[in-house]
Amino acid sequence: MINKVVTDAGAAIAGITDGMTLMLGGFGLCGIPENCIREIVARGISGLTCISNNAGVDDFGIGLMLRKRQVKKMIASYVGENAEFERQLLTGELEVELVPQGTLATRCMAAGYGMPAIFTPAGVGTEVAEGKEVRNFGGKDYLMEMAFDADFAIVKAWKGDTAGNLVYRQTARNFNPVMAMAGKITIAEVEELVPVGALDPDHIHTPGIYVHRIFQGTNYEKRIEQRTVRGH
């Protein structure tokens, strides 16, 4: 019987090699696949193109991969909060493609939904539009943006079952469901792996058909980037 469950991040990332394109779920440090990132860093896989909304911070998330110079190109919407990123960008070591956040999300969804391209008004008239087809619908201009093509998508969910069904928690959902749909191979790491039947079919955010490998992660740090609390 085919089994999607793998023991750990080491087994999960089998097949990820130098030069591949990876999607990594999360928004800032929220809902990022900590275990897989740790393992990719440990193995030193390099020359990677990473599609992710952000690039982590200096010492966490994708920032760990940047520090080890494993990333050739970053496709993201916002890459602040990262001095090492800045250094590599200014020295030309790192290539960066900035994409409006909604365009980024929708290009992932397009891949998962088998749509080769989508139309969005975001970026019309700006440098984001350079080289792209502009098309008018109903008096408004839209850019045609292409679906992403990623070798692996790596996502983090709260719970998952052995069939690969995933449930996310609060805003740790963010890009994870759209990336889960979009990888040629999708790896899910979850805080809690449960048997089939333990999740309500009505509550599943990512159906298992999109998930090829799943494992229960360990030692989640779940770091908070901007700890803000209420005044008195």
Binding site: C30, E86, P100, A105, V128, Q170, P177
Partner: protein, 219 residues
């Protein structure tokens, strides 16, 4: 001259009962503090939440619950969580009634620049390009004059654009403007308390229009 909280307070008056509102980082975030209690407003955070509440009490921060500025937040009753594609889906389809965001420059035709200063590090546009391209109702909250004393309300933006002909309303430390994207021009609607029309005119580099009588803001 208004401080940041003054600008936020004035903008809060633009929010109507039943509105879904997206607040950008900076001054726009402060607007939440001035929404009248007798109206029902739902805040959208583009990382995937409707119903954003205030910051949590100390000790109740949850790493899984943040806003688009990556700050820890809370959810109000009636909140809904969704993924990033749906979040920008509702933005593009204009279900969000009002977007409030900051700007580095606005042109007299309503172009906006707020994401990139060439030569300085580029941090990225985040969701700003999606928001300005899609929202039917955008208010810019900004300082009208930079630290060098130069107006940021221009004939043409000098910085790379975030969006074209999309801004209709601007609230600054000096005034409230309406932008005429058709013919070009900043139309003065209200003065900050104690500020004269001439002071505002002098702080506006783009085409400036003012009626004979310009009311003071009611804060």
């Amino acid at each position: 001259m208004l401080d940041k909280n003054g600008i936020a307070k004035r903008i809060a008056k633009e929010i109507k009962d039943g509105y879904y509102v997206n607040l950008g980082i900076g001054i726009p975030t402060l607007v939440a503090n001035y929404i009248p209690e007798n109206i029902n407003v739902v805040l959208q955070s583009e990382n995937g939440l409707l119903g954003m509440g205030p910051f949590p009490h100390a000790g109740e921060e949850d790493a899984d619950l943040i806003n688009a500025g990556k700050q820890t937040i809370t959810m109000l009753p009636g909140s809904a969580i969704f993924d990033s594609a749906m979040s920008f889906g509702m933005i593009r389809s204009q279900k969000v009634d009002l977007t409030i965001l900051g700007a580095m420059e606005v042109s007299e035709y309503g172009d906006i620049a707020n994401w990139k200063i060439p030569g300085k590090l580029v941090k990225g546009m985040g969701g700003a390009m999606d928001l300005v391209a899609s929202a039917k109702n955008i208010i810019v909250a900004m300082q009208q004059v930079n630290k060098a004393g130069e107006s940021k309300l221009l004939r043409q933006c000098t910085l790379p654009l975030t969006g074209v002909r999309c801004i209709r309303k601007i609230v600054t430390e000096l005034a409230v403007f309406e932008v005429d994207a058709e013919n070009g021009g900043f139309h003065l609607l209200e003065r900050a308390p104690g500020i004269s029309v001439d002071e505002i005119r002098n702080a506006t580099a783009g085409k400036f229009f003012a009626p004979v009588h310009v009311p003071e803001m009611d804060l």
